[in-house]
């Protein structure tokens, strides 16, 4: 227990801390309120389950751990170690006012155990700090940039630990009956201090260090609100309010007919959750390391986008709040976020591959942020890469991005004996062919392969023929929500007209949007990807396959299939079923898979910044010396075929779709 003066001093310290903390916290919360409303309060049970499941076992930090990057383990140690300390500070403060409330209150055993734990935690924290220090300043992995914040925190926490040990040491030295014997670090420090002849002044030094360390602790409490360590507080709510919608699905624009603006050009056009994302960022750089745009040397770095948006929010927050108070919060002539904070190049570089979101420990939603800015550029400014206009017009008039006459949409199926639903709508499943499957000479072969498989398995299926329309995914991802909406409406109308219940899609982009985004417009269908469907056919014994294809194959995970829809195993199982081969994995696979470069509408844009993403990926595949590259997406296929040509390897390595592998292996009945 402290003397009265000390208590008052501590009270003043605490009051100051609370004052500054509350002030800053209120400011930060007020800034969140600048955002637009969004309901993220549904399903609290699930949300609690999620946040606890992420934080307590530290899944958030450890989910990306690989042999090459063990930093997550360090974070886990630091998290647990420091958590123990945070609890101990609670004890320290209460003890200062009322010494009955010391750990000793719970008995000697508890007290001993408490200090044993505390000292061990301290050591763990110091070890993890050293580890972090070595990584950050000696190993220097790409994803970490030197940051003042990080340096300060390492030093401060290190000092804190030393001070805590010193406090214990001096206290042990000063008190006649040691309050515990198990504080081995405290004892060691006390021994050192005794050897230094500090026995006499130990009482005073105890207080000095005690106050010092309380000042640092309380100061630290305020400091985190001003630094990237805000994540210590913001990450948890951010995880709690994570999106429960299908992964990576974009939100529709409500009430398009009457809306006054579309997309986001100012920071206040984002919802409060998007702003909370900014606070939650730990600047760990995982997103950058996995971003194909960044890796290929383009301006876009997801972490920087988030960080710059945060800095922008904090820097302009006062003005924004004042404007809101005066109700002068109108839309500026020139956007304050787009171009000013996030450049157009950054906005267009994104492939929507969702690697950033997949690895983000704190559930930040990068992709929809970028796509909101695209919506602004496209719908409000009509400002987009020139080559995209052909795509929009092609989709508007002929319902495909190339603008090929829609009357030829079913030509690929002419001689295959495939019926359209107009001819016979009594089918078990609709084969939604998609634009590539219908128009691209290369991918038409995959459609043909798919038909062979369906026919071999005796599946009663049909196609829509010329009634089929473009799924609209590219338009939506480029930011043309209006065009997307028209495409979706038309398709849903046609599907419903035939009372379609189940849909098979070969293109993951169509698959994803039909399955996860069409429900936003009242289109509820069971949608399966051909890799899922084929695997079921194989498992049910409906396909007779030769097997024994002796080739080295590497499978490339399509982003919209893998990360968006967690289809990782099915294609691999199919390849396993048809070959006794060597299925080699690329360095980056499954949830870490590296985009081919064509998602997010990038298929239709020139890639004139940085290296070509498809060539980077092709090189990665070639390093495994495969005979064949397996894909399950028309865009990926195009990108690999182009990549192989660029690497002069097209004669050596063939790209085949999973459906083609299977069709080639069918035993004719």
């Amino acid at each position: 227990m402290l003397p009265i003066a000390g208590k008052i001093f501590l009270l003043i310290l605490i009051a100051l801390t609370v004052y500054f903390f509350v002030q800053r916290a209120k400011y930060l919360i007020d800034l969140l309120k600048l955002g637009t409303p969004e309901d993220r309060f549904d399903n609290p049970k699930e949300r609690w389950k999620y946040v606890l499941g992420q934080v307590l076992p530290q899944r958030c930090a450890t989910k990306n751990v690989t042999k090459k990057d063990l930093a997550g383990v360090g974070h886990l140690l630091l998290f647990y170690g420091f958590s123990v300390y945070v609890i101990s500070y609670g004890f320290h403060i209460t003890e200062a006012f009322y010494d009955k409330l010391s750990p000793a209150l719970f008995g000697v055993a508890f007290n001993n155990f408490f200090y044993l734990l505390l000292d061990t935690a301290g050591l763990v924290v110091i070890a993890s700090l050293l580890w972090a220090f070595i990584r950050r300043y000696i190993v220097k992995p790409d994803r970490l940039e030197p940051s003042m914040d990080a340096g300060i925190i390492l030093v401060v926490v290190f000092c804190l630990m030393i001070m805590s040990f010193s406090v214990e040491g001096f206290r042990l030295l000063a008190e006649e009956t040691p309050f515990t014997d198990w504080a081995y670090m405290g004892n060691a420090f006390s021994q050192v201090f005794a050897n230094m002849g500090l026995q006499e002044s130990s009482h005073t030094l105890f207080y000095v260090f005690w106050y010092l360390h309380m000042i640092v602790v309380l100061g630290f409490g305020i400091y985190i609100l001003y630094s990237k360590h805000l994540h210590v507080l913001a990450a948890h709510p951010n995880l709690y309010f994570h999106s429960t919608k299908p992964k990576g699905s974009l939100e529709p624009i409500e009430n398009m007919e009457e809306a006054e603006r579309f997309g986001a050009s100012d920071i206040t056009h984002y919802s409060w959750k998007h702003l909370l994302d900014l606070y939650a960022c730990t600047e760990c750089g995982w997103c950058n390391e996995n971003c194909p745009a960044n890796v290929s040397g383009k301006p876009l770095k997801p972490k920087d986008v988030i960080h710059n948006m945060k800095e922008h929010l904090l820097a302009t927050g006062k003005d924004l709040l004042a404007k809101k108070a005066e109700e002068t919060q109108g839309d500026e002539e020139e956007p304050t976020l787009v171009r000013a904070v996030v450049t157009e190049d950054e906005i267009w570089d994104c492939t929507n591959c969702m690697a950033c979101m997949e690895v983000c420990p704190v559930a930040i939603e990068h992709v929809s942020k970028i796509d909101e800015m695209r919506r602004y550029l496209v719908l409000m400014e009509s400002n987009f890469p020139a080559e995209v206009q052909t795509v929009f017009k092609g989709m508007e008039t002929n319902s495909n991005p190339w603008g090929i006459g829609m009357s030829t949409r079913a030509d690929w199926a002419k001689d295959l004996g495939v019926k359209t639903l107009a001819e016979d709508s009594e089918v078990d499943i609709l084969f939604y062919v998609g634009c590539s499957g219908a128009f691209d000479d290369r991918y038409k072969k995959v459609s043909v392969a798919m038909v062979k498989i369906l026919q071999a398995a005796g599946v009663k299926f049909g196609i829509l023929g010329t009634e089929e329309g473009c799924c609209g995914d590219s338009a939506r991802r480029i930011g043309n929500e209006y065009l997307y909406w028209m495409m979706a409406q038309q398709n849903i109308e046609v599907f419903n007209g035939y009372n379609v219940k189940k849909i098979l899609a070969t293109c993951p982009h169509g698959y994803n949007t039909l399955k996860n985004e069409y429900p936003q417009f009242g289109g509820d269908f069971e949608v399966v990807h051909h890799t899922e469907f084929i695997l079921d056919l194989i498992k049910n014994g409906r396909l007779k396959l030769k097997g024994g294809l002796a080739k080295t194959i590497t499978y490339h995970d399509s982003c919209f299939l893998g990360r968006y829809n967690t289809i990782y195993d099915q294609p691999r199982e199919i390849l396993g079923a048809i070959s006794n081969t060597n299925l080699v994995e690329m360095e980056r696979n499954r949830r870490f898979s590296f985009c081919c470069g064509a998602g997010g509408g990038r298929m239709w844009m020139e890639e004139d910044r940085g290296d070509k993403i498809n060539e980077v990926r092709t090189e990665e595949a070639l390093s495994k010396n495969p005979d064949m590259i397996a894909t399950a997406c028309p865009f990926c296929m195009t990108m690999f075929e182009d990549g192989l040509k660029a690497k002069n390897a097209e004669d050596k390595v063939k790209v085949l779709d999973i459906a083609e592998f299977v069709a080639n292996q069918l035993i004719d009945n």
């Binding site: 080559e387 052909t390 991005p401 190339w402 128009f439 000479d441 290369r442 075929e641 040509k645 660029a646």
Partner: protein
């Protein structure tokens, strides 16, 4: 009843153009069907040998010569032509559907209150009247057209009708005619004509495009395409790969993310025919593909193809073209 055929005899720099001969030859045949005379009208200044139009079948040549008519403008030429036409009671006013002919056709049609059928590719006589066939919907349909009025304006597509060999023994009667032209007829004036410099033709403007792809193997090899292009007055295009490799500029790129073109003739050399490329050129009227891979997708869309090494085929083709075009 009107039964004469009045023909616009287009000249450039005082010399008649081959399309004028094509028109006169057809005009002569029409006049035979109609039982009328063939009257050619030459407008300009410093027109050489108008009587020689008789060699192609003109009975009479009316020359409107005026310093002010040195350069073609539709207002002035149209006024002059319509004036002459009005005095000669034609059943058919005929011209080639060239740049000038298309302008003039519309003007004369309005001035004479006569219907026009432009860019015809065939004609026939039906019940003492001329009917024409012309492509519509970009050639996806052909319409046969009958006229009901006294006079019909017809323009014929250049190079579709061959002109007969000139009969040197024949000569036409030449009549000079003055047409009163006021300032109102010169509200548009030609300030300048930038002669074709033989320089680079933009791919979006070329009637013929010679394009190279990955099969070109390097920037230096585009020389053989340039040589052919120069001979044909063609633009040189490139596939995305060729541009990505830095062999050609982006401005030359044909395809989905480059320029979408629709020339009369597209010669694809070493281009495999991926859909990104096809999207930019598949509406070309005639496509020639030269590729070493017989399975290349470009052959699916090509009208004519040669399977072979473009480094041999292209220069040989240029030589062959020289022979044919020189003759």
């Amino acid at each position: 009843m009107a039964n004469n055929v009045l023909i616009y005899a287009e000249q450039m720099g005082g010399k008649f153009r081959p399309t004028a001969f094509e028109a006169i030859c057809q005009g002569k045949k029409m006049a035979q069907e109609l039982g009328g005379k063939v009257i050619a009208v030459a407008i300009g200044s410093g027109i050489e040998n108008p009587e020689a139009l008789g060699q192609y079948g003109a009975d009479k040549v009316i020359v409107v010569s005026n310093e002010k008519l040195k350069d073609f403008t539709v207002d002035a030429y149209g006024k002059a032509f319509a004036d002459v036409a009005g005095k000669n009671d034609p059943a058919v006013v005929l011209m080639a559907a060239t740049y000038q002919g298309k302008d003039l056709g519309g003007y004369v049609s309005a001035a004479l209150d006569a219907p026009i059928a432009a860019d015809c590719t065939e004609w026939l006589a039906q019940g003492g009247k001329i009917q024409v066939k012309r492509p519509t919907y970009a050639g996806k349909a052909y319409a046969t057209i009958a006229f009901t009025g006294e006079t019909a304006v017809i323009s014929i597509r250049p190079k579709v009708f061959a002109s007969d060999e000139p009969d040197a023994s024949k000569s036409a009667e030449v009549e000079n005619q003055d047409v009163a032209l006021s300032d109102d007829d010169f509200r548009s004036i030609v300030k300048e004509i930038l002669a074709k410099a033989g320089g680079k033709i933009d791919v979006s403007e070329g009637d013929i495009i010679v394009a190279g792809g990955r099969g070109m193997k390097g920037p230096e090899n585009f020389k053989i395409l340039e040589e052919m292009a120069e001979l044909l007055g063609a633009a040189v295009g490139a596939s995305r790969t060729a541009v990505d490799e830095g062999w050609r500029e982006h401005a030359d790129q044909v395809g989905q993310t480059g320029k979408v073109v629709s020339p009369k003739l597209y010669i694809a050399c070493g281009i495999s025919g991926a859909i990104q490329h096809l999207a930019g050129m598949r509406t070309s009227k005639c496509i020639v593909a030269i590729n070493k891979d017989p399975d290349a997708a470009i052959f699916n869309i090509a009208d004519y193809g040669i399977v072979g090494d473009l480094f041999q085929v292209v220069p040989a083709m240029t030589e062959e073209l020289k022979k044919v075009m020189g003759s």
